[in-house]
């Protein structure tokens, strides 16, 4: 399969800050690449270069077979971008916003109008279509912005942190919409701070920090390599901690840490059944506990493993 997006050695500096430090990426046609990293990792800079908003200081990028540096206008005709801020005009209605974007993608006035209605219906915005988008919720605005990126049916879609700042329900709605798009065969580059999001939507994930890729693989590969699910047990009586730790050790992957009454260990494989096993064994041993739970790996865990620093540490540096 041909790569719809391909970048080699992208470098971008802003004064003394190196935002991108030799980033490579490939997005085969019809697949989804998740670019995962904390704020300031260089995700948005990469997106801006690939969507012609910025020019790289070094390196080469091709989108839909077109060089972004040589023919930016050609690239613009092949992409749809939905950015971090929902770039919708709050005084225009949803319909007017989409119609305007359609006109600027060179649809005729009539085509742009038809297309706008179509998209509003598809994104569940038809009831709100003729209200100024000022009255929309955050989730509705993001959906409208995404609809704007789809007006021209672009073969390549770029979504920069599409769910950052959304409440859980709007986030879920956004995911549903994106999943539907992806199943329709759109090539997608998605940036996100959430492993869960990359996990759910992306075929392939690149973890990026300080402008370079620090890990790459499918979601399962990354999680099994860099961030395991963990079991945490808190016993009622510190004297039982050692006994509980022995039980946890039977399912642990790596070392079991014990601190006062808390026992924690990474686990591999099917986390839920391990949790049940541990719970049953603790019950059998008549150890009374305050808490027993499983924690899914977060970007923080993957990060910690990869860089030895937490996401927030890394943000301070960037």
């Amino acid at each position: 399969m041909a790569n719809m997006i391909q970048a080699r050695g992208l470098v971008k500096r802003f004064g003394k800050v190196t935002a991108l430090d030799g980033l490579d990426l490939d997005v085969p046609e019809g697949s989804v690449l998740g670019l995962l990293g904390p704020n300031g990792a260089g995700k948005t800079t990469a997106v801006k270069i690939l969507t012609t908003l910025l020019t790289a200081d070094a390196g080469q990028a091709m989108v839909a077979g077109i060089d972004v540096r040589e023919d930016p206008q050609g690239v613009r005709g092949k992409i749809g971008l939905s950015g971090q801020f929902a770039a919708v005009d709050e005084y225009l209605t949803g319909y007017e916003n989409l119609r305007m974007v359609g006109r600027l993608y060179r649809l005729s006035a009539k085509e742009a109008g038809v297309r706008a209605r179509e998209l509003l219906e598809r994104f569940g915005l038809d009831d709100a279509a003729d209200r100024p988008s000022k009255t929309y919720s955050g989730g509705m605005r993001r959906r409208l912005d995404l609809a704007g990126a789809l007006v021209a049916n672009p073969p390549v879609l770029v979504l920069d942190e599409p769910t950052t700042g959304l409440d859980p329900r709007s986030r879920q709605q956004m995911w549903d919409v994106i999943e539907e798009l992806v199943s329709g065969g759109t090539t997608l580059l998605l940036t996100t701070q959430y492993l869960e999001e990359a996990d759910m939507l992306a075929d392939d994930i690149i973890v990026i920090d300080h402008g370079r890729a620090i890990a790459q693989g499918t979601s399962d590969e990354l999680k099994s390599q860099f961030g395991q699910e963990r079991i945490d047990v808190v016993v009622a009586d510190a004297h039982d901690a050692a006994a509980a730790a022995r039980i946890v050790n039977t399912v642990a992957f790596g070392t079991v840490t014990v601190k006062d009454r808390s026992i924690s260990a990474a686990i591999s494989g099917d986390g839920a059944s391990h949790l049940v096993e541990v719970g049953k064994a603790i019950l059998d041993a008549r150890i009374s506990i305050l808490d027993l739970g499983m924690r899914r790996p977060t970007l923080d865990d993957v990060f910690l493993t990869l860089t030895g620093e937490t996401v927030s540490d890394s943000e301070d540096v960037a």
């Binding site: 910025l54 613009r76 770039a87 005009d89 006109r103 600027l104």
Partner: protein, 267 residues
């Protein structure tokens, strides 16, 4: 090559701006109130206090200056709107579309002409109420309004550039005031040039705000008989001199602003 494209895309962008006039009545109120305020304030507050010279009706003398000042101030709106679009990421959206590179600016400055036309109409009506009369021919009056609109359009491009280089909307008013205040006040807009110290007088004589004011004043027939004609070439030929400035501003600031637009990107 893509001249028609600029116009089509520019029109789409202008439509967006014009819809806002309907949706945000506050903007229109501001556009209407401030010229009324200027006319009434200057006519009644300063009108009696300042002696413009023998045989000179200050209120009549003043109107051309108020017109010029108001359209120059109005151009700030162009810059503020662009700065806001930039801050909200709207410019990025436009820049990712396969549209003409200058259409956003052409559309913006184009739609802002509508604001200027509205404010000129309102000012003229208010002026008539406070006793101002256009004493020249009808054609002269039309020329006067056209000159004001053309001049304002050029200033719009200066403000567009400022709007694209400032880091945020908050800065735009201060930044543009630093340009506008000296231009409008060190001019013949409100007081006859003879009252200035000589260095300032030279600046004022060649200041395009003075010449546009002078041109409009003459076209409206608001220059009294006994008025001493100024010596400077700029004020002897105010229409030509003003149009030269319009040309220079457009030649310099259109490419400058477009270049800035192409480079600019929200943080």
């Amino acid at each position: 090559m893509n001249a028609p494209r600029v116009l089509i895309d520019g029109w789409v962008v202008a439509q967006r701006n014009l819809i806002k006039i309907k949706r945000v009545p506050e903007i229109l109120v501001f556009v209407l109130i401030s010229p009324i305020m200027f006319v009434v304030l200057f006519a009644y507050v300063f009108g009696g206090a300042i002696d413009a010279g023998p045989g000179l009706n200050y209120r009549e003398f003043l109107i051309a200056g108020i017109f010029a000042q108001t359209v120059v101030f109005g151009a700030t709106f162009t810059g503020a709107s662009l700065a806001e679009d930039m801050q909200k990421g709207f410019i990025d959206r436009f820049r990712s579309l396969p549209m003409s590179r200058s259409a956003v600016l052409v559309g913006r400055t184009g739609s802002d002409i509508v604001y200027n036309v509205i404010s000129l109409v309102v000012m003229a009506l208010t002026g008539l109420l406070v006793g101002w009369r256009a004493r020249g021919s009808f054609l002269d009056s039309v020329s006067a309004f056209l000159l004001l609109i053309v001049f304002a359009y050029a200033i719009s491009w200066v403000m567009a550039y400022i709007g694209l280089i400032v880091p945020s909307v908050d800065v735009i008013n201060n930044a543009s005031f630093m340009v506008i205040m000296p231009l409008t006040f060190v001019s013949n807009a409100f007081v006859p040039l003879e009252t200035f110290p000589s260095a300032l007088q030279t600046f004022a004589e060649w200041n395009p705000v003075s010449t546009v004011t002078q041109a409009v004043r003459e076209l409206f027939g608001n220059v009294p008989d006994g008025f001493v004609a100024p010596d400077a070439w700029s004020l002897q030929h105010p229409v030509v001199y003003t149009l030269i400035w319009v040309g220079i501003i457009v030649i310099v600031f259109v490419p400058l602003s477009v270049r800035q637009y192409v480079r600019a990107s929200a943080k």
